[in-house]
Each structure stands twice: as C-alpha cells, then as structure tokens.
C-alpha cells in the first residue's frame, strides 16, 4: 500500500473538525451502501462507521429503493452490477437522482472500463471509484463530498478561490468555472485539475495525480481521465489547451 499523501490527512482532519464544530453528534450522516457482495459491503460499512457515519447496507436495487423512498440517505455508494442486474447500479442512480438532485452519489465498481465511467457520470454521479480504492481513500472522498455539500449550503462567503487565467476553482465548494461558466467535474477530475492548476508549468506525473485524486489507477485510466477533463473544458471553449501532455513524464497546466 502506498503511503498516504499529506493532503489526504489534511482533508480528513478538516472533515472531522467540521463535524465537531458544525453539527450535532446525534445527527450522524447516513451513508447507503448498495453492494451485492456481503463481505465487501460489511468492510466498507465498518470502515465508514469508524469515521462516525451511520451506514446502511443493501444487497440489491429493490430493497435499496424501498428504503430510499422512506428516507433518503445523505450519501449513496452504489455498485454497478447488482446481483442479477448487470447494470442495476445505473438504474438505481437514475431513480435516486429523480428523488434528489443534490444527493452525492459515488459509483464503486470492479469494472473500470471507459464506457462504464462515462455512463455512470452521465447519470449524474459525483464520483466514480474502482474497488481498488483503499479504505482511507474512500473515507477521504466521502468526507470531501460532505464538505462540498456543506460549503454549498453555506451562504456565499468569500471562499478560497484559485484563479488561473480563465479558470477559477472554488476549493471549498469544489466547483470549477471556465470564463465564468461552470464546468461540471467529478471529484476525481476536480482533484486532478486542482493539482495541475495549483502549480502551473510544473509537470505532474501520473503517480502525483493519483495521490492528489486519492485513487490508485493504472496509466490508461489516468490518460482517459485527462482526456475526459479536456473534453469537458473544450465543450465550453473550443480553444482550450491548458493541459499539456509531457510525454514520458506526465501533464502540466499552462496558462
């Protein structure tokens, strides 16, 4: 296992701090895990419960939706293939998004192919993780998503804004704009953009980007993430070329 980055710790500590000061301890955040593999479900539940969340596990789409109609969780972690439904997770995500537009949804899957990722994100998921993700990484991600929700709910105080030319990154709300137009990025993508834009001109290799995004990905997946990020910016501005490939080394942000 890789050594966790300093930034990860910082995020976790900040999450815990906000819990301690801003919210009632009794009002624990609920996380729903929809995963048909009981051992994994229990492991995730145990890891998240240790972070102070109330975790509920569901094995399939039907039981999960029944429960969600009664009460929405604060965050949902959904496996794509559920029991006998190969893409049951996508359907569940769509139904859940219909119930709530703001609820953070994280896809978790053994499948890491491009198509699954794109499909998942089109359905309005906030992040997409492979099951390789370690428990601390998962916890960091969950904390970050909650933090974003909190930041969004807070009235617009002078937030920490990172500006790089046309790019503006609201670090707290984890929102990105290009020429003032919001660019919707997944959490992983946001962290990659943030890591690149923070030090323009510096080459970030794949490992550094993975660390920043709190994921373990193979080279091809990093490449496809970068591609997708570019595409998202290009759909706002056809002339976008701020992310440069430095072959054999990594990527850098140029202004």
């Amino acid at each position: 296992m890789r050594v966790e980055s300093g930034e990860l710790w910082r995020l976790q500590r900040r999450t815990l701090r906000s819990h301690a000061f801003g919210y009632d301890r009794a009002m624990k955040k609920t996380i729903a895990i929809v995963e048909d593999e009981p051992a994994l479900r229990d492991n995730y539940a145990a890891a998240l419960a240790r972070q102070g969340y109330q975790v509920k596990g569901y094995a399939n789409r039907t039981t999960a939706m029944q429960a969600f109609r009664v009460r929405l969780p604060d965050l949902a972690i959904i496996d794509i293939s559920l029991e006998d439904e190969a893409e049951g997770g996508f359907d569940l995500c769509r139904d859940l998004r219909a119930l709530s537009a703001e609820l953070p949804i994280v896809f978790l899957t053994a499948r890491d192919s491009e198509l699954d990722a794109v499909s998942g994100l089109r359905l309005g998921a906030d992040d997409f993780l492979t099951k390789d993700v370690s428990m601390p990484h998962l916890a960091a991600r969950v904390a970050a998503l909650f933090r974003r929700i909190d930041a969004l709910r807070r009235p617009g105080d002078a937030a920490e804004i990172l500006r790089r030319g046309a790019l503006a990154i609201d670090v707290e709300k984890m929102q990105t704009t290009w020429n003032g137009v919001p660019v919707v990025l997944s959490l992983t993508e946001f962290w990659i953009v943030h890591a690149l834009a923070k030090n323009p001109g510096h080459v970030k290799n794949r490992q550094q980007l993975m660390d920043a995004a709190n994921v373990v990905l193979d080279d091809e997946t990093i490449t496809s993430h970068i591609k997708r990020i570019r595409r998202k910016f290009i759909s706002e501005d056809a002339g976008f070329d701020a992310i440069q490939t430095v072959y054999g080394m990594g990527y850098r942000w140029v202004e």
């Binding site: 593999e37 994994l40 491009e114 099951k131 390789d132 428990m135 193979d218």
Partner: protein
C-alpha cells in the same frame, strides 16, 4: 502429380475417339476395296464375255494355241505404234523392254555368238532387231560361195504363210542399209546369191559387235521365224534347209491389230484393260492407270498424314508385273486356268495399291486368254477420305475441346483448392488471430464441404483461442472482488489498532495482495490496450519531440541504464495516437531495461527510411535465442527471463505490435552483431 495433370491424362483418353474413327476408316477401306474388287471383277467378266463372242477380233490364228516359250526362241511381236526408221537403233520403237537373249537352240552350233533379239510389227511389216556380241567384224567377201570362205552374217529362216520355209542371210562388206540375200539355184544348176529387195535391214557396227534392224513385209511372214547370227570363221554358209518338223520354237506371237480400239470402248477413265493370250502375252491394252492419287488430296497436308495414319498396309502385297510384253501373277494364272480372280498389287507409290481383276476369255470351252482390268485402289478412297478426314477432324476437335474443357476445369478445381490451401495456411495469423471465413465455402460440392469443415474447425479453434485470450482479462476481473475483500479487510484490521508484531503479518499480507493486484493488472493489460486502441483518435504531432520528451522521462525513471537518443534534427511529423506511441515506447524501454545489465546502454534511434520512420530500441545484454525471435511479438509468448522478479506475461511486446499495427507499421527484432544485445525495430509509414 497435380490434379490438373491427372485430369489432363483423363482428358487425353478421349483420343480413343479419333482412334475409333481411324479403325472405322480402315474397316470402311476394306469394305470399299471389296466392292471395288467386285465391280472390277464384274467389269472384267463383261469384257471377257464380249471378247469371247468375237474371237476373230482377238486371236489371229484359229484355235492354234501353242505354249509361249522364249527359251526356245518364241518371239513376242510388240505392236508398234508407228513406222520405225531403219537405222540400226530401236529407240524409235517405243518399247520399254530390253531385247531378250536369243537361244536358237535348234540351229545353234559352233560359231553362234551371243545375241539378243526383239520383234515388233506394224500393219505391214515385221521388224526384227538383233544385237550381236562379236568383237571381230569380218566383212562379206565378193564371192560368198567360195569354199571355206567365212564372214559375219545373220541367217533368217522364215516360214511363209503357206507353210514353206525360206532361208535368207544378212551380210555386208560395210555397215549401212542392206538387203537380205539368199542362195538360189540358177537355171543352169549353179548356185548363186540373189538379193531379196523386200527384206531390208540396217547393219550398224557397235563397240562390242553389231546390231541389225531388219524389216520383213508381213505378207512374207507365216507363223514362225528364226534368226541366227553367225560368226564368220566358224560357220560356212550352206544352202541346206532344215526340215520343218525338226525345228523348235521360233513362233511369232502377234498382238492382233485393232484390239486396242476394241478394248478402248470398254474401259473407263482410270482403268487399264489388257487382253492376254493363254501364255500371258499381251495382245493389247487400252486405257491408262492413274497412279498419282488424288491431286487435291496430295495438296492437303492434313489428308496426306491422315491417309498415312489409316492406310492399310500395302507392303506385303505382291508387286505389279513390270514386263511390257506379258502379264504374270496369281490372278493371271487363275484366269488362264479358267477362273476369274482379283488381286491387289503393290505399285511404285507406297500408298497406292493397284487392283487387278482377271477374267478368262473362253472360246468353245477352251480358255484362249484373259482380260485383265487394272485400277488404282484409291479411286474411291479420295471420296471416302474427304468424309472420314472430316470425321477424324471432328473427333480430334472434340478431343481438343474435351481436353481443353478438362484442363480448364482442372485449373479451376486446382485454383479453388490452391485458394483453400492458401487460406488454410494463413487462417491462423502470426498474431494468433483466426480468420473464420474460408473461400469456396459457398459451393455445394466437396471442396465447398471441405471449406465448411475448415470453417467449423476454425470456429471451434477461435472459440478456444478466444477463451484463452480473454481468460486473462476475465481472471483479472473475477479475482478483483475477492482481492478487494482481502485488501479492504486488511485496511479495517489496521484501523482497529494492532500490536507491533501483528502489523508485520498485516504488512506481509498487504504486500502479497499488492503483488496479486499487479499480476491481475498485467493480465488485463492487453485487453485494456485493445480497448483504448479502438477508441484512439489520430492527431498530427512531431514524433521527434515526443521521443525527446519521453526519453527525458525514462532517463530519470531508469537511472540504472544509460538511455541515449539519436533523432533527426528537424521535426518528424506523424499522424497517429501519441498516447499509444508513448505506451509502445514505454513497453520497449521497459523491456530493454529488463535485459540491460547495470551500467549498460539503451540506444534509441529514430530515422527516416524510404517513406517510413524507423524506430530502433537497442540494448546491451544477452542475445535472444534465434528460435524465439519470430515469435517474440505474439500474445502471451514469454520465455525470456529478465533479471528482475516482475511478472512477465509476454504482453509487452504484443502491445508494441498492436500499437505499431494500429499505425500501419511493422515490428521486427534481431540480435546485434557479436551477441552484444538485442535490437527492436518499429517501422511506421510516414503519412
């Protein structure tokens, strides 16, 4: 032996058709010969019957049939077409035969030199020609009656038409035109020599003797005549006449005048009719043989060899009689014995046979002679040849068509099989990919069935290969969930708080899990690359810039090896997927680093070469065994052992090839000279 030549031989079996045609033609020729024999035989019998009705026009002397015996001095008198000149030469007689030796047995005695005689007759004269071998010429003296006087002379003993004998002699003091002389008794009883002016002769001196050409009026000649040359010193002249009954031979056999005209009325063109007497001597003949064959046919080369092919064998036939004065042969013998007969004769020309039909002429129950009709055997053959040669050519053409068709068919079959074979040979490509469709499989025949069998076999092979190919990906996917369970459990365990000694076990378990994860990742790598190749976008970029950037990265990533780059100084534009090319480069460099000893050099070279970029990654280190070289770029082929513990699934170089092929390029690997290392070459076409 190829199917084509086998079928060609089968096709050649249709040559039996023209062969059968030849056989048929031969049969037909025999049949035609038979009918020609019958026709000619019937004609001969008709002519013979007609002549039998008028024996007086055929035979000169009543019913006197004597056997002809040239050995005893019998003479055949050739009919002469025109009056010859008395000049001692017989060139103007127009007779092909040479004079026959004259035996004169009854009168022979001492002083008879060797001589040869020939007789001929016109309507008024009998001509006699005699050649005498007498080297020493003794001229006639002025008084021949002087005792013991001798000189060269030719005695002529003549039977008059009334049966009496007359003796004459020819002698001369100088060669030239002379008259016959005879000894007469004067009224006074003395013997004197008289000339007979009606009998004239020409005495011609030759190198070995002399020749005498004599002319006797036909009115003086009866049935017999004897001519005896005398050598002067040995034979004195006498006046004594021998007794007729003691004489032998000397009979003259005349061809009746007018018989030729009579015969001419019987013969058709191309047929020769000959009448012979009981001795086989020719009385007369009419018509001429056409032995030249069919002129039109001769002009036709094809028919000529066709004739040679089917002609009946003539070589064993008896030969045509060549004697001009008489006919011989089995048919003549039969006819003179009273039986009609036909026979085929050989002629001077090989391919032309002569048909000779002989029929007896019977007068009052006695066979007096025979009619012989002769006809060239190919009278009808020309007609038949035209029909048969057409048949022959038709069957030959049919054979040619059949052979051509069979040959074409065999070529087609052979080509189909060759196509199938070529497809079968290349069905499984070097990259392990299997082509499922075979040519010919849409045909309903056996080759189609074979092709379909191949397709089924390949489909099953494909399934199997597909299973093997996807096994890695499936395995990596299926093992991922349990691995995740293990790793997440370890995460939880660690978070629960462990004793120091327990941490070591967890750490080891985590390391094992990490290795397992990297194995699974490697197993699924090829599938992921294939996936990303499918989605790759092509852009224009500078390959040199990419290389320089990538090599700089490698230099920092692999400090243990010296990585050098040689590239053109100007931009190397290429259209392709730079991400994939970098990935390809990664694999090549990783591979080179694996086999490069510490401190060794990895040389990366980019060069333009005949319309393509040639990228060479060469590393120091051990050479690759020759047997492995051609298979190195195959999927899951790895027999090389690097000097690290990383898992090798032989996918790295396979990915290199996939990416090179995506760019329309090729890959190659070779060992450097002196076993100093390996060299991987990727050729990419410049687009």
């Amino acid at each position: 032996m190829s199917i084509r030549s086998q079928l060609l031989i089968v096709g050649l079996s249709t040559l039996v058709l023209p062969w059968a045609g030849c056989q048929y033609a031969r049969e037909l020729e025999f049949a035609l010969r038979g009918s020609q024999e019958q026709a000619l035989s019937a004609s001969a019998a008709t002519v013979a019957n007609a002549l039998s009705a008028e024996p007086q026009r055929v035979f000169r002397q009543g019913s006197d049939v004597q056997p002809f015996d040239p050995g005893r001095g019998d003479l055949y008198v050739f009919p002469l077409g025109r009056q010859p000149l008395l000049d001692g030469y017989r060139d103007d007689w127009g007779i092909g035969q040479d004079p026959v030796p004259l035996p004169n047995p009854s009168l022979a005695g001492a002083g008879t030199p060797r001589s040869r005689i020939q007789a001929g007759a016109t309507e008024r004269y009998v001509y006699l020609y005699v050649e005498v071998d007498d080297a020493h010429f003794e001229p006639e003296p002025s008084d021949v009656l002087k005792a013991r006087v001798s000189f060269d002379r030719v005695d002529l003993l003549l039977q008059r038409p009334d049966g009496t004998l007359d003796a004459f002699f020819f002698a001369t003091s100088a060669p030239g035109l002379i008259e016959a002389q005879y000894l007469a008794t004067s009224d006074d009883g003395a013997t004197r020599v008289d000339a007979e002016p009606r009998i004239q002769a020409f005495w011609l001196q030759t190198r070995g003797g002399y020749t005498l050409e004599a002319r006797v009026p036909l009115s003086m000649v009866g049935g017999r005549l004897w001519l005896t040359p005398r050598d002067g010193p040995k034979s004195p002249i006498t006046q004594e006449l021998p007794a007729l009954e003691h004489l032998e031979g000397g009979r003259l056999f005349f061809a009746p005048q007018g018989l030729q005209d009579l015969l001419a009325t019987f013969v058709r063109a191309g047929t020769r009719a000959t009448v012979i007497d009981a001795n086989g001597l020719i009385f007369g003949s009419a018509g001429s043989l056409d032995l030249s064959g069919n002129d039109a046919q001769r002009g036709n080369l094809g028919q000529a060899w066709f004739r040679r092919l089917i002609a009946a064998d003539n070589s064993r036939l008896p030969e045509q009689s060549q004697a001009p004065d008489r006919l011989v042969g089995p048919q003549i013998t039969q006819a003179l014995a009273g039986r009609a007969d036909t026979v085929w004769l050989r002629t001077g020309r090989r391919e032309v046979a002569l048909l000779s039909a002989a029929a007896p002429i019977t007068v009052d129950g006695i066979t007096r002679g025979a009619v012989v009709l002769e006809q060239a055997g190919d009278q009808l053959i020309g007609l038949r040849d035209r029909a048969l040669s057409r048949l022959f050519y038709l069957t030959l053409a049919a054979t040619a068509v059949a052979v051509a068709f069979v040959s074409g068919y065999a070529t087609w079959i052979g080509a189909r099989i060759a196509r199938l074979q070529a497809a079968a040979d290349t069905a499984v490509g070097n990259d392990g990919r299997i082509r499922l469709t075979m040519p010919e499989s849409s045909h309903a025949d056996e080759i189609g069935a074979l092709a379909r069998s191949f397709e089924r076999m390949l489909a099953r092979l494909q399934e199997h290969t597909q299973y093997l190919r996807t096994l890695g990906g499936k395995l990596s996917h299926e093992l991922r969930t349990p691995l995740t369970i293990v790793r997440s459990s370890l995460d939880n365990l660690e978070s629960e708080g462990l004793r120091e000694d327990q941490r070591d076990f967890v750490r080891r378990a985590r390391e094992g899990g990490q290795r397992l994860a990297s194995i699974l990742s490697a197993l699924g790598a090829a599938a992921r690359v294939e996936e990303s190749i499918k989605q790759a976008e092509r852009v224009n970029f500078d390959f040199r810039e990419l290389l320089e950037s990538a090599v700089a990265g490698y230099q920092s990533a692999f400090p243990q090896a010296r990585i050098e780059l040689q590239a053109p100084t100007d931009a190397c534009h290429l259209r392709g997927a730079p991400d994939l090319l970098v990935q390809m480069l990664d694999k090549l460099v990783e591979n080179a680093v694996d086999f490069c000893p510490a401190g060794g050099t990895i040389a990366i070279t980019l060069a333009r070469h005949a319309g393509e970029y040639r990228l060479i990654v060469a590393n120091d280190g051990p050479p690759i065994p020759e047997g492995l070289l051609p298979r190195l770029f195959e999927s899951l082929f790895e027999q090389r052992v690097g000097h690290d513990e990383k898992p090798h699934f032989g996918l790295g170089l396979y990915i290199v090839r996939l990416i090179a092929e995506f760019h329309g390029g090729r890959t190659a690997v070779s060992n450097r000279a002196e076993a100093s290392g390996a060299e991987f070459t990727v050729s990419l076409p410049i687009i």
